[in-house]
């Protein structure tokens, strides 16, 4: 063993010199924690973070007053935050104001924000933790039981996520520091390619070298899997004879065998016919819509993990795929119960209370609030994601810490396939830009019969324009889609990359929204109204005559 501490050893060296039990303990040992031990780690690291943060320029500016005495004092005095609260410091990448020196700045789009992008600093401590977390995810991805994993240097990795400076681009870079993994195509090449080029090259290389790991957004992984089927089947994407020259004999045998089986079963080739994945990981929203199909395609159920620009990689499922566990040393987690969110919705000045990891209850939904540890900038930050606690213990995983299931983005946001985040403001912007005489609308995230996500807009047209404008459902859809693509580049990617057209339009009778307000004494929510409100809205189309409000123009 080299004369270095374990902390300094690369993961690849650990595989050579350290017992696999010890490696498991180091990376996945957090699964054995009791909730008290888990909270001890959380509290101790939060204490460190509070010390660093309150001493920083950012902390002093935001804390306004004496530094907190302890974590409870901080939670009582410091309000929940959003990106806007940090924008002036972080968008200027003002490292001197931060609790610790940032090594890298990660960016993402800021839908509905005052600036097109959001940036988030990553310190050395955060990056070290991130590396350990992604390796833990890989180990758990390959594990079929507790303590068992299968990672080797030179394994091949098909990676279906965006490169740096997006958070997803950090994954291959972090992994590259720890172990030699063959990314398909290599990271430095992939960073200069378009999405489809990357996929095509990746699959071709996969057919040559085999694929051990696959990681992507659930929606993207699904699309990529279908493309692979197309490449290996018939059609214009079909593999050429020259491609087979680069195949290994093993792959040629598998390919021929797969062809034979598919012909017999009268189906097209699926990835599982050619590849035997060690680990299949997905992230993002709407993974539940794709998991079953992905399992069918690859023969292995995808393992979900949670990562984001602000929080980094914070949670992972295990070999049982029965809910995610949060890493104890990445962020300090708080949860806003649904009841508190309702209070906030009714009164925007209300400050919702949060509970901690040891206070969550099974089957309750929560909005996640994080404080990024190890010199991170974000404190009590609302990530905008909803989780449901699915249990406090699990006999199959032999865990005694809460596990969660990702539900969706918060109610004010419509996220389609993890690609785009549509808010009330962005829709209103689209409606205004379109010039259509839409007088009322509400948008609701629904799922198609095939269980694919879409955005359903219920719109009401100005009745005076009906005589002068063609406003068929198709025209509205076409029109609005153009402007959605115009204001939101991610929306454009939905079509470009995934071939998805997620907008559905229903035109309501003029005056329906006003009638709804009169009848129920409240306006309908613009984004994701309650299902019963949608039903009521639709019911009003048929059951009740709409009473027009007479305006000056009518007279």
């Amino acid at each position: 063993m080299p004369n270095e501490s374990v902390d300094m050893l690369k993961f690849e060296d650990k595989l050579k010199y350290i017992d696999s039990k010890m490696i498991w303990q180091e990376y996945c040992g957090f699964l054995d924690l009791s909730i008290d031990e888990y909270m001890e780690i959380q509290n101790r690291l939060m204490k460190e973070q509070l010390t660093l943060w309150t001493a920083s320029g950012l902390g002093k500016k935001m804390m306004k007053g004496a530094p907190p005495d302890n974590i409870n004092d901080f939670r009582a005095r410091f309000p929940l935050t959003e990106y806007q609260d940090y924008a002036d410091v972080l968008l200027q990448k003002n490292g001197a104001m931060l609790p610790d020196h940032p090594i890298i700045w990660i960016q993402t789009t800021w839908e509905g924000g005052s600036h097109p992008i959001k940036t988030a600093p990553y310190t050395k401590g955060m990056l070290d933790t991130y590396k350990r977390n992604v390796i833990a995810c890989m180990m758990l991805g390959t594990s079929r039981k507790k303590g068992q994993f299968d990672i080797k240097a030179m394994d091949t990795f098909l990676y279906g996520l965006a490169p740096l400076p997006y958070a997803t681009g950090l994954y291959p870079r972090a992994l590259d520091d720890e172990i030699q993994i063959n990314f398909l195509p290599p990271v430095h090449e992939a960073e200069g390619m378009s999405f489809s080029e990357r996929n095509k090259k990746g699959f071709k290389m996969g057919l040559h070298k085999g694929i051990d790991y696959f990681f992507g957004l659930g929606s993207v992984a699904y699309y990529m899997s279908l493309s692979l089927g197309a490449m290996s089947g018939s059609g214009n994407k079909k593999l050429q004879a020259s491609d087979f020259m680069s195949f290994s004999p093993k792959m040629i045998r598998k390919y021929l065998q797969a062809k034979k089986v598919c012909k017999r079963e009268n189906r097209s080739i699926m990835p599982k016919d050619l590849f035997e994945l060690k680990a299949f990981m997905v992230a993002g929203t709407d993974n539940n819509c794709y998991k079953d199909e992905l399992e069918e395609l690859w023969g292995i159920r995808p393992m979900e993990l949670f990562a984001g620009t602000e929080p980094s990689c914070i949670g992972t499922e295990t070999w049982t795929r029965e809910g995610m566990y949060f890493f104890p040393d990445t962020c300090f987690y708080e949860f806003i119960p649904e009841s508190e969110l309702k209070k906030e919705e009714a009164d925007s000045s209300y400050r919702p209370n949060t509970c901690l990891m040891n206070e969550v209850r099974p089957d309750e939904k929560y909005e996640l609030v994080i404080s990024v540890l190890k010199g991170g900038a974000f404190m009590r930050y609302r990530v905008g994601d909803m989780y449901m606690c699915v249990g406090l213990e699990n006999s199959q995983d032999q865990t005694k810490i809460p596990r969660f299931k990702y539900i969706d983005r918060v109610r004010d946001i419509i996220d389609i396939g993890g690609f785009t985040r549509i808010s009330k403001n962005s829709i209103q912007n689209v409606v205004d830009l379109s010039g259509l005489h839409i007088t009322g609308w509400t948008a609701y995230k629904e799922f198609t019969k095939n269980n694919k996500p879409m955005m359903h807009m219920y719109v009401e047209m100005d009745r005076h324009s009906l005589a002068s404008q063609a406003v068929s459902r198709e025209i509205l859809k076409e029109h609005l889609t153009i402007y959605f693509k115009y204001v939101d580049s991610d929306y454009k990617d939905l079509k470009r990359i995934l071939g998805m057209d997620p907008l559905e339009i229903t035109i309501l009778k003029s005056g329906t929204f006003a009638a709804f307000s009169r009848k129920y004494g409240e306006e309908i929510r613009k984004i994701n109204p309650d299902p019963h409100q949608i039903s009521a809205l639709l019911k009003m189309q048929f059951s009740e005559p709409i009473v027009w409000e007479v305006s000056e123009n009518d007279k």
Binding site: N3, Y17, I18, L45
Partner: protein, 852 residues
């Protein structure tokens, strides 16, 4: 060839026995147990085979069965060893193979149908060979053993492929297994016929397995070598050597020395002896150099260390010894010792190998490392710690610190269940990891040190608490007297100065900012004084707001200069507090020094105290030397004596109003006490003046006289003016007036300097007075003076319970009480002053007239 069949198995047997016995003494893990069983099987197989060839008692058949059982069990235990070593899950198959082996052997033992015992065939030259009659049922044995061997090979192969680590760990085992297989193959080869290659290959395999265990640090190598083992090994080797070479030697001797048949035996015996001794010494030297020397050295070091630390109660001494031992015995270059701080329970770096190490690092008592060591009283390798989940809660700064410190192992120092310290050490120079021996050595040090640290902590805590003031960390009053006495006894003609710092208006400071801020002021002041004094003297907290500094070898001037530097620093202490504006802290400082102004310890204290009182009376914030030195201030300097006199008058006039107000209050209640106080003030001040005290001290004593009975204001008039003798209860009430007086004066900061006189004026020189029952010169001089004056006036006055006595009677009484109630010197001086008329007797009518 026959001799090969005897010598090689015998040598192998000896080695197996030797290893078997050695491993029986080792700590038995699963792997060690399995290895012991492998050795036992080898012994049975090799021993049985050898004894069968010797046709030893009881029979050839018996030893054949023993040898066969050994061989089968060797296959089984080898399989079991691999299962344990590779951590494979083969519980069912382990049982299945055991049952099959035992069943087939038992069946054969009773029936002999599978493999019958061999038949000895005697050749013409006398050599014996053993012929086995093999038939097809022997295949059962081959199937069972073959199955076990294949399963074993599979397990080794699987483990080899699993990961890099197991690949390297499995290599010696693969080598051993290959040796056995090769041995069995060669055994069938014609050129090996007659040579026990199978036994030799099995022996090589055992050595390989042992090496694999050693690489896993499962046993101590030194366990295998000892003096006894050397004797045994050299004896066995000599016997084997001679039994092989005796025929040749015999022939050689007969040929060369045919005429001395007796010398033949003698020569062989002599050669045997020399050979054994040489072999023994060679082995011993070799083993000593390899293992034992270090072991003995370490054992001696530990013994010495244990003895040394048991002699010491000083934690620093213990740490020093431990650090040296670690450096010398293990060649460790980086050693840091953290010791628990009893105040906040955190662990501060108390000691390190190099004085240049940064010792500011501390371990929070909630640090996961501390928690682990508290629960597991054993050494913890950094590499193990880093693999634990609790390591995740380490702060980045803490991790970095350990990296900077190059820490590779933590040694706990426990006091029962309390972790009192942690020793962080780096790897020994030139080593990549700690060996089993190193860790055992560190554990021993940990145990020895834990006991020593526990004792020394108790001692040092008691030692510290007994001598230290909790608030300021300075020496306390008790230790002040101890040091002063020590230094006085040592001074022998050298000077010894005492500087008393009395904080001005501290009560007001507390009232203005609260006691918490007051405590902070005391701490800051203490730091300022002790940092200025340094190692030149002793800084102590004498009483609540009084600090004193003992300065051996200081004369008055040097002490005054130091005191002035400190006074100036203290005045600026509060400049740096940003949060609020605090009052400037000033000090009234009195200095006295032996032999210039005092000749005894008590006089040194009294005169320094008196000097402080004088500064207080002259407006505070200044320094005064005992025996009427000039006061020193920054802001006020007096151009001439007249100005100073005016200033003094001014101060007195401001006190005078307070004193008159108080005496007027007592007058309204008890006119007698009012007059009495005035008379006592007069007698006392005259006596003080005659004693040679300076004017300021005389004034203090006069004021004390005026106020000495002010506490009577709280005594019921029925008791105060009761005609006749007081009951015991009433007398107790009456006695309380002393404390009451002090209680009233305490609220007058400007008059507090009279308290020593007031509180002591009912003390008796023989120690039977009240309230403190102090005696002799422990009673302040001012109180002794007041006592004489008070008693004299009480005797010559009319009281509600008695008529006045005559002056002569009173003076006689005073004379009688010399050395009992009164200071003899003062009493005789007073008698002399009254008798000579220098003190005028004050009668009640005189006082009344004066008042009128």
């Amino acid at each position: 060839m026959t001799s090969s069949y005897i010598i090689i198995p015998t040598a192998a047997l000896c080695c197996y026995l030797f290893l078997f016995l050695a491993f029986m003494a080792a700590k038995k893990t699963g792997e060690i147990k399995a290895f012991i069983m492998v050795l036992a099987s080898c012994i049975l197989w090799t021993g049985g085979s050898a004894l069968m060839r010797l046709q030893a008692w009881p029979s050839l058949g018996f030893w054949f069965q023993a040898s066969l059982l050994g061989l089968f069990m060797l296959a089984y235990w080898l399989f079991h060893f691999i299962v344990v070593f590779t951590d494979s899950d083969c519980r069912v198959m382990t049982k299945v193979w055991l049952i099959l082996v035992l069943a087939s052997f038992t069946f054969n033992a009773f029936t002999g149908l599978l493999l019958a015992k061999p038949v000895p065939e005697y050749a013409a030259d006398g050599t014996v060979s053993y012929v086995y009659n093999l038939s097809w049922p022997v295949a059962v044995f081959f199937v069972v053993c073959g199955g076990i061997v294949i399963h074993t090979i599979l397990l080794i192969f699987r483990s080899y492929r699993e990961d890099e680590l197991k690949k390297r760990q499995t290599k010696p085992i693969i080598l051993g297994a290959s040796s056995v297989l090769l041995g069995q193959l060669l055994f069938l080869a014609p050129f090996c016929k007659g040579f026990p290659i199978d036994v030799l290959s099995a022996f090589i395999m055992v050595i390989c397995l042992g090496y694999a265990l050693y690489k896993r640090r499962l046993f101590k190598l030194t366990l295998l070598v000892s003096k006894g083992a050397c004797y045994a090994a050299s004896a066995v080797l000599s016997v084997l050597f001679f039994s092989y070479w005796i025929p040749s030697m015999d022939g050689f001797m007969k040929k060369t020395l045919p005429d001395f048949p007796i010398s033949e035996t003698l020569m062989i015996a002599l050669l045997f002896m020399i050979c054994t001794v040489v072999l023994y010494n060679l082995m011993k030297i070799c083993i000593d150099k390899l293992f034992i020397k270090d072991e003995i050295q370490r054992a001696n070091s530990l013994k010495e260390f244990s003895h040394d630390v048991s002699q010491s109660l000083r934690i620093n001494e213990i740490m020093d010894k431990m650090v040296r031992l670690l450096r010398d015995a293990l060649d460790i270059q980086k050693i840091y010792v953290f010791v628990q701080n009893t105040r906040d329970l955190d662990y501060n770096m108390a000691y390190s190998l190099s004085p240049l190490d940064n010792r500011s690092f501390r371990l929070d008592h909630k640090n996961p490392l501390i928690k682990y060591l508290e629960n597991h009283h054993e050494c913890l390798l950094m590499s193990d710690f880093q693999c634990m989940t609790v390591y995740k809660s380490m702060w980045e700064e803490e991790k970095n610190q350990f990296t900077v410190m190059h820490t590779d192992c933590f040694i706990p120092l426990n006091d029962d269940d309390t972790l009192v310290g942690v020793v962080a050490v780096s790897l020994p120079a030139g080593k990549r990891s700690f060996s089993f021996d190193d860790l055992s050595f560190l554990s021993s040090i940990s145990s020895i040190c834990s006991i020593a640290v526990k004792n020394s902590r108790l001692y040092e805590q008691a030692y510290y608490e007994a001598r230290t003031d909790e608030l300021t960390g300075l020496y306390n009053r008790k230790y002040f007297y101890e040091i002063l006495e020590q230094e006085y006894s040592k001074c022998e003609g050298r000077s010894l100065a005492l500087v008393v710092f009395n904080m001005d208006d501290f009560r007001l400071y507390n009232q203005l900012y609260g006691t918490k801020e007051g405590d902070l002021a005391l701490q800051r002041t203490a730091r300022a004084i002790s940092s200025c004094v340094g190692d030149n003297g002793y800084t102590t907290r004498y009483s609540s707001k009084v600090f004193s500094v003992i300065l051996p070898g200081y004369d008055m001037l040097a002490a005054k200069n130091l005191a002035d530097t400190i006074r100036r620093q203290i005045m600026h202490i509060n400049d740096s507090t940003n949060d609020k504006i605090l009052k400037v802290l000033t000090m009234s400082i009195g200095i006295s020094s032996i032999p210039y102004t005092a000749s005894s310890v008590s006089e040194l204290i009294d005169t320094a105290d008196m000097a402080v009182f004088n500064v207080k009376r002259k407006g505070k914030n200044g320094i005064m030397l005992a025996a009427g030195g000039q006061i020193m201030r920054d802001t006020q300097t007096y151009r001439n004596a007249e100005q100073e006199h005016e200033h003094r008058e001014e101060i007195y006039s401001s006190y005078a109003s307070t004193i008159y107000a108080l005496t007027a209050a007592i007058d309204t209640k008890d006119h007698y006490t009012f007059n009495h106080s005035k008379n006592v003030a007069y007698y006392a001040s005259e006596l003080a003046y005659a004693t040679g005290l300076d004017a300021d001290t005389v004034e203090i004593i006069r004021e004390a006289g005026l106020l000495h009975d002010i506490g009577k204001i709280g005594i019921p008039e029925t008791v105060l003016n009761k005609p006749g003798k007081l009951t015991e209860e009433e007398f107790e009430i009456m006695k309380n007036h002393v404390e009451s007086s002090v209680g009233i004066i305490r609220y007058l900061p400007s008059l507090e300097y009279v308290i020593p006189a007031v509180i002591g004026h009912h003390e008796r020189y023989d120690g039977t007075g009240y309230p403190r029952r102090i005696a002799g010169e422990n009673i302040p001089l001012s109180a002794r003076i007041l006592c004489v004056a008070d008693s004299f006036d009480a005797m010559i006055s009319n009281r509600s319970y008695k008529e006045s006595y005559g002056v002569d009677f009173a003076l006689r009484e005073i004379e009688k009480q010399e050395g009992r109630q009164f200071d003899p010197k003062l009493a005789s001086l007073f008698i002399q002053l009254v008798s000579s008329g220098k003190i005028k007797v004050q009668r009640e009518e005189d006082s009344t007239a004066k008042n009128a």
